[in-house]
């Protein structure tokens, strides 16, 4: 589904990604871990098409297409979803209104008719249940005055609404209390299928108890320096990053 080869990117002349290689197949869940500032959010942004980052080398193939050639909104309509580490506030625009616009543009792209108000409401109710989010929150201005946890839950609600093929969750677990973490993870698990793939960026093994990954990768200084199964996350939890850092420096 997603094939990243030797991807490098910079911002303001500062090199941040230094040759990333990653293969993600439909049905898989990949976890990306790594110390602060190692480039995890940058990788997510580059995949989503944020223009501030300049791709300086490498290729990304997504469902047989050259992902890097698509505009950010085209990528989204093709099924790439990013749950933001820091969701943005849009005053005066409710989540409902925002999602109605998004869902219908995605549908149009797929050659489907727009949803009428009744079917949209039906879809919304179904997805609200999935992430146990309250409608009163969705009536409010998007993310404005939301608590950290509410913002994250809202991101997963949007993911549920848009049914992406490739979802990238950037630290969706940070800011969630224990109960919310379970609910969100549960929601994500229900959205897992053999047709879609998920990349989870996280600092904590805890989330991976709920969303069990097929692979775990460690990003350090803009490179994937170690990959393994779900036990790698446990090892990191126990030992920290120092041993990986020194391993990486030696290489």
């Amino acid at each position: 589904m997603l094939s990243i080869k030797n991807l490098s990117a910079q911002i303001d002349g500062k090199q941040i990604l230094n040759g990333i290689n990653l293969e993600v197949k439909a049905g898989e869940v990949h976890a990306i871990m790594g110390p602060n500032g190692s480039g995890k959010s940058t990788l997510a942004s580059v995949l989503a098409g944020r223009e501030e980052f300049e791709v300086t080398g490498g290729e990304v193939e997504y469902l047989g297409k050259n992902l890097l050639e698509l505009e950010p909104d085209e990528r989204a309509r093709e099924g790439v979803f990013l749950a933001f580490q820091y969701p943005v506030e849009i005053p005066g625009v409710s989540t409902i209104n925002f999602m109605k616009t998004a869902v219908n543009q995605v549908r149009e792209h797929r050659g489907q008719d727009p949803l009428d108000a009744v079917s949209f409401l039906g879809l919304m109710k179904e997805k609200m249940k999935l992430v146990e989010i309250d409608q009163s929150l969705l009536n409010r201005s998007l993310n404005e005055g939301f608590s950290g946890g509410e913002k994250k839950r809202n991101e997963i609600f949007q993911m549920a609404m848009l049914e992406p093929k490739l979802a990238i969750l950037d630290e969706t677990d940070s800011g969630l209390d224990i109960d919310a973490l379970k609910i969100v993870a549960n929601g994500v698990n229900k959205l897992r299928s053999k047709n879609n793939a998920i990349i989870v960026v996280t600092h904590y093994q805890r989330l991976l108890n709920y969303i069990v990954p097929d692979f775990v990768h460690v990003l350090y200084k803009g490179k994937i320096v170690k990959s393994g199964g779900k036990e790698l996350a446990l090892e990191l939890e126990a030992k920290g990053y120092d041993w990986i850092k020194s391993e990486a420096e030696v290489v």
């Binding site: 989204a76 925002f98 616009t101």
Partner: protein, 481 residues
Amino acid sequence: MSKDNQLLEELTSREYEHGWTSDIEMESAPKGLNEDIIRFISAKKNEPDWLLQWRLKAYRTWTTMAEPKWPNVTYPAINYQDIIYYAAPKQKAKPKSLEDVDPELLKTFEKLGISLTEQKRLTGVAVDAVLDSVSVATTFKEKLAELGIIFCSFSEAVREHPELVKKYLGSVVPMNDNYFAALNSAVFSDGSFCYIPKGVRCPMELSTYFRINAANTGQFERTLIVADEGSYVSYLEGCTAPQRDENQLHAAVVEIYAMKDAHVKYSTVQNWYPGDKEGKGGIYNFVTKRALCAGENSKVSWTQVETGSAITWKYPSCVLKGDNSSGEFYSVAVTNNYQQADTGTKMIHIGRNTKSRIVSKGISAGHSQNSYRGQVHVLKRAENARNFSQCDSLLMGNKCGAHTFPYIDVENNTARVEHEATTSKIGEDQIFYCLQRGIDEESAVALIVNGYAKEVLNQLPMEFAVEAQKLLALTLEGSVG
């Protein structure tokens, strides 16, 4: 929420969509302004002598006045002798009903989405349609008459209800109020008149639709609304003009007189031709709008969505004379390309316990200049006056300008006046967030801007809100990225 989406889906046309002209046989006065032209206009309309004298007095006053220079706008000097002051569609006889109206004329309004055939789309809205200098048709007149409501063209009001016109004309905006009001008083050709009797709640929206069609013609219409004790009316005004290379002058006057316990809501969606991308052409919109809250507990709300015109000079105001009366001003003003807007309000607190509320949302894009100018004046006897003002500016790009000129003048120390102002830029982050959800850039801008202006748009009647949202989006198309 469905209206938003409808808006986004309809976002297809790129340029000013009302820029066409209609081919209608016209009758007009020669260019230029002098007492003979005024006599000509008055004679064309078979006016009584008192009105002719009133016009002539206004004209003489005007010749002693100078064009105001304080607004934050620049434009080449206007040659007032190069303008046609009267143009009217030629019609054999005065139409008695819609069937008698020139089909070309009806088509003109159909094209604008304004149906004058009553059973159609705008059921629930009575329309007075004004093309160039004259009122073309007024709908739902009989139905309104059953309630004693008078809604007709200004000329008809002069003929049928001279006592009302004589009593209230100039009672809120005196003929010598300002340069453009004096000009309008001298040459106004038509407009709408509305009277709501005591205790009557007008059951439908009343609406005037203005269209400038003829070239080199100025439009000078006058609207007079009189709301008797305890009455209520919601009034809408819309306007468009063809795309022309030369500038055209529009100098209107709107007067609202609200008696005890009366409530008037006046909404405008102003969409005059703004000129092209280089700033060529467009309407000069110099308008005086004022309401007098004469009686106790009276209330007037102005809501305006200003998207058109090359230059806008307009300050819908409230004179709060009656005790406990209140005035509101909700405004969204969008400028793009080389448009200039200097707009705002005046709230004059005279009575006790008077309240006013100002919410102004400016949006500037391109090379445009957008100024808010507002005055809150609390007079000595206005015990316990309250004002709240909120003035926000949103900038798109870095070649445009936003300016705020609040004037606060308090002569009574029991007054409480609050003023808040913010300036922000439309965020790359916000746009990227929308893009990431599959929303294209134009729609993203429309969504963000409509969100920003929501508090004002919410004040508009539904029918108008949809149109206003579309207009905001259209005005700003191509201004990001």
